[in-house]
């Protein structure tokens, strides 16, 4: 059973050393992310991390690889960015189960994974890595799309209200067009948390580099 959930973004900027020198906007974001992840992992007996990637799979055998990356020791696949970002946020020694969901996965696939995670026997914290739109303005990586801000606002409102139905209803096609990399992961969370009563808090919502980042926490009442 899921007892707590934390939502964080996963820009490469969160990985160690990527920004070169310290960047204040990134420090502020990392602080919010680390606090949410620490809160979640401290609220449960086990941790499951879910993040968007090329494909849906589990990551059972993580080992250090070349150049500071970790990956699947058997296949040589590198842990995807979304999960790597969370890995740098988790305190040392915290063990977790790692799950990637295809960014383009149909909602039904996300729902199936969410239900599977919810069915686990232990009190579990979910850490969900997902980014909002990268098309929020003329300087955004994907340039401006006027639908981006309303989309992100709807996601923010749903996370603030623990509104699983609205997350479940997010349009995969529109999300793709808006370069949203969190839709499938948020829908896993919606399915995993469906039917519960939650206290929700949005700790961070901003787009310092043109991509929308959200940090939120849900606690089962």
């Amino acid at each position: 059973m899921i007892v707590a959930a934390a939502v964080v973004p996963h820009p490469p900027l969160l990985l160690p050393g990527v920004t070169g020198g310290p960047v204040p906007e990134v420090d502020r974001l990392r602080l919010a992310c680390s606090a949410a992840v620490a809160w979640a992992s401290g609220s449960a007996d086990s941790v499951v991390v879910v993040g968007g990637a090329d494909r849906t799979r589990t990551w059972p055998n993580l080992e250090p690889m070349r150049a500071g990356f970790v990956g699947d020791a058997e296949t040589g696949d590198r842990l995807p960015l979304s999960l790597s970002a969370v890995r740098t946020l988790l305190a040392d020694g915290v063990r977790a189960e790692w799950r990637s969901i295809a960014v383009s996965a149909p909602a039904a696939e996300a729902v199936a994974l969410g239900r599977q995670l919810a069915a686990g026997p232990r009190a579990t914290a979910l850490v969900v890595a997902g980014d909002g739109s990268a098309r929020r303005g003329p300087k955004a990586p994907g340039y401006e799309d006027e639908r981006a801000r309303p989309f992100d606002a709807a996601v923010t409102a749903a996370l603030a209200a623990a509104d699983v139905a609205s997350l479940a209803d997010l349009d995969p096609v529109l999300a793709d067009e808006l370069l949203v990399h969190g839709r499938a992961a948020w829908q896993v969370m919606a399915a995993a948390c469906a039917g519960g009563a939650w206290t929700a808090e949005v700790d961070y919502a901003d787009d310092p580099f043109g991509v929308y980042y959200l940090v939120a926490r849900w606690s089962r009442r």
Binding site: L13, G17, T19, V23, V26, P141, V211
Partner: protein, 293 residues
């Protein structure tokens, strides 16, 4: 010849690693130096210059009381008057900065070391062997320079070398080893091929190309290039138009492993060597966010 690895350079209270190039800012206590033409002969302006160059990223200030080119005679007493009090005041004002003094005279060197100087920049190539003795006595650093055996404050006239590369290499290694034999700490010695000193432009260009081999000697290499005539003659540029050429040679020699850059234009020199260090992977970008959000 096999290469000797570069080691840490200990100057003043600072330790500079082999891949940590530094800026030595020129601060003239002269009424007539070639580039700034006495701009900091006034003590207040000289103090302002020191504050400015430190703020702009210089680790070292190189204070000189006698211009290099021929001109009005400056006695040792006059040189001491120009430099010693100023060194003491800079020491009090900036405890961390490395203070170098550009002099060839042991009697001046003794006074400035007593006043707090950390390094003696012997830009005239060891004409006064007593200078190294002073460095040894005070535990100071020493820059050994190739000046082609010229007397101080003379211009090169029809200078000839049988083999300029060999002359520079052998002279610098001999001066550095002589200094160490005389008691100067090996970690406090640097070498400077002495652009324009006892050299025409062809010689200075050869000295530049020699930098990789100078680096291979293991001694930290100092580059004194700033706005010099070899840059001006190479590009056909007057005194005010030599910064680009200076920075080009700065970048090239920084990439080849030169470590100390004596400069008038501190901010530009700092940016140049920082950019080279960043490309080489020795320094992280200040703020890398583009495409990573």
């Amino acid at each position: 010849m096999t290469a000797t690895a570069q080691c840490d350079l200990h100057w003043g209270s600072r330790i500079f690693g082999p891949r940590q190039p530094v800026v030595m800012a020129i601060v003239n206590r002269t009424p007539d130096s070639f580039y700034d033409r006495g701009a900091t002969f006034d003590p207040a302006l000289a103090f302002q210059r020191v504050d400015d160059v430190i703020a702009a990223g210089a680790e070292i200030v190189d204070i000189g009381g006698v211009k290099a080119a021929p001109g009005v005679e400056v006695t040792p007493g006059e040189e001491i008057d120009r430099v010693v009090g100023f060194v003491a005041a800079v020491r009090a004002r900036h405890p961390e900065v490395v203070i170098s003094v550009d002099t060839w005279r042991a009697e001046v060197a003794r006074e400035v070391c007593a006043a707090g100087a950390d390094v003696l920049n012997d830009a005239w190539g060891g004409v006064d062997p007593g200078l190294a003795d002073v460095a040894a006595q005070f535990g100071a650093g020493l820059v050994c320079t190739h000046a082609g055996g010229q007397r101080p404050r003379t211009r090169p006239h029809r200078v000839h070398y049988a083999d300029v590369d060999a002359d520079i290499l052998a002279t610098l290694v001999r001066l550095a080893e002589r200094a160490v034999a005389g008691g100067v700490e090996p970690t406090r010695v640097a070498i400077d091929p002495g652009h324009d000193f006892g050299k025409n432009t062809w010689h200075s260009l050869a000295a530049t190309r020699l930098v990789p081999r100078l680096v291979d000697t293991g001694w930290p290499v100092l580059m004194s290039l700033s706005n010099k005539d070899f840059v001006g003659e190479s590009l056909g540029r007057g005194l005010e138009q030599r910064l680009t050429g200076t920075l080009a040679v700065t970048a090239l020699t920084a990439a080849w492993g030169a470590r100390i850059f004596r400069a008038h234009n501190v901010r530009e020199t700092r940016d140049t060597i920082d950019m080279v260090s960043t490309v080489l992977g020795d320094r992280a970008p200040v703020r890398a966010v583009r495409g990573l959000g």
